[in-house]
Amino acid sequence: MSAVLAQGLRKTYGTKTALDGIDLDVPAGTVYGLLGPNGAGKTTTVRILTTLLRPSDGRAQVAGFDVTAEPRRVRAAIGLVGQQTAVDEILTARQNLELFGRLYHLSASAARARAAELLERFGLAEHDGPAKELSGGLRRRLDLAASMILAPPVLFLDEPTTGLDPRSRAGIWSAVRELVAGGTTVLLTTQYLEEADQLADRVAVIDSGRVVAEGTPEALKSKLGGDRLDVVINDPARLDEAAAILSATASGAAELDRDTRHVSAPVADRVSALTRVLPALAAAGIEAEDVALRRPTLDEVFLNLTTTGGDR
């Protein structure tokens, strides 16, 4: 069953097109990543799916309810962690959760109990001060906790870790993984490709309001570039020469990084890379300090997809 189903979502503002026909199908119980550069339409998509924005065209269902025809039912089935941390900064974490609990129509005692439970679970129990005194990571966790008050089946996270340090980011990731283990469907947008790689079962790459690629992170990586050969060269003076050899013998143009003395190129066939490229280097008398065959990072896939947008 689909937790989120979108067909041909379009959003236009005057002559400006923010979304140009987005199709999504997110199976229940999975994590789905929306990747794209700033202004690609990720947030607009999330805002339509969470009933904050009406689509100009197209349809979308969340948890089986139509976002434009049954917004109240959709709202009862979702949690939203928006781009900004939307908690009251003067209220304490507990007061925030109790207040939102009441607005989710829990009784006073149920709201208190649920707040206590969530504070414990999200590691916020010992913080008594106003929310503005919490660190960015803790505030984000409070935001997440507030979205989980009704334990909604579908959770939307719009760039949940933007601006957080690596440790806080890891904390949010483990919180999300726990939720998914409990059966929640998560749709998250991110600028961090590593985040999608870490969390998402499937990824849609969005550019200029369209889905330009869709699949598992692994499939995207192998479809769009295959493996890469990385060589670290001993003598920095011979980097250009090494790059030329790689370009000629591998299956694509080589890139080089002078600071780390790295030369890397895509290779279609792992075995031929080692049997052809390395002997060519050795024949030219260029010494390699280190050699590795690896999958491209999602970053490389992403850049490849979104910078060549014009011909897609």
């Binding site: 009251d88 003067i90 209220l91």
Partner: protein, 262 residues
């Protein structure tokens, strides 16, 4: 009817958020109450001696109803500030993504700000009593306070409209800057009769002037007089103006709020 019940229940929960702010940050409330008190004392003791008042009257008798009205006017920017800050910080979006009554966001803001104004007006009334200002009758005083809060109620909706329109707290400064000139361009501090003709006319038609003149009348305090139509019908105008402002800005803010999904 359950829809209305939830609108009120949720509205009260949203308003209670502000009451918790008061408890968590009592100094903010104290300063909010003290600000108009300080301005009143400054005007009364520093400028008061220079203002010509009818023979035998004390300037504070004129000033206090003017300051009560002025304080209601200051509420415009505080409502605008609260509304635009919530929009800018995404709190409004969180509310809108929740299965609560949508109207509760505006109802809650209205209730919270009105309560805040009651508190501030109460503090200023005590200040007035302390500097020798006296209302003539309790009934009249209640009527005057009612009209003052009615003005505040109408400015609530104007503030909500401006907050939803600008969506960013930075724009509030512009309105705050305008509040003083709007207040000065009224009968709150000096008689419009002493102003150049056209300015005096604008001052007399300022909704604040109607409320302040009506409050002076009901408190039994001396007024500036004036024989224009609007000055002679202060009490009905002090009802008409706020009702008109409320109707216009209530419709505009509700429409703007509902169209946030465009």
């Amino acid at each position: 009817m359950t829809a209305l019940r939830w609108a009120l229940a949720d509205g009260w929960t949203v308003a209670r958020r502000d009451l918790i702010h008061w408890a968590n940050q009592p100094m903010t409330v104290v300063f909010g109450v003290l600000f108009p008190v300080v301005i009143t004392l400054a005007f009364g003791y520093l400028f008061g001696g220079a203002v010509e008042v009818p023979a035998g009257a004390d300037y504070f008798a004129f000033l206090m109803p003017g300051m009560y009205g002025m304080t209601m006017l200051f509420g415009l920017s505080s409502t605008m500030m609260a509304v635009s800050a919530d929009v800018a910080k995404g709190v409004t979006d969180r509310f809108r993504s929740m299965p609560m009554a949508p109207s509760a966001v505006l109802i809650g803001r209205a209730v919270a700000d009105l309560l805040n104004s009651v508190l501030i007006l109460g503090g200023l009334l005590l200040c007035g009593l302390a500097v020798g200002w006296r209302p003539a009758s309790a009934g009249g005083a209640l009527g005057a306070v009612g009209l003052l809060l009615l003005l505040r109620f109408s400015l609530l909706w104007a503030g909500m409209y401006l907050g939803l329109l600008t969506r960013e707290p930075g724009a509030v400064v512009a309105i705050q800057t305008l509040e003083f000139p709007i207040g000065f361009l009224s009968n709150a501090f000096v008689a419009p009769g002493t102003m150049p003709g056209w300015l005096g006319a604008i001052s007399e038609w300022n909704p604040l002037s109607s409320t302040v003149a009506a409050a002076r009348e009901l408190f039994g305090n001396p007024g500036w007089g004036g024989d224009s139509w609007v000055a002679r019908h202060a009490v009905p105008m002090a009802v008409l103006w706020p009702v008109a402002i409320t109707v216009v800005f209530f419709v505009l803010s509700v429409r703007l709020y509902q169209r946030m999904d465009r």
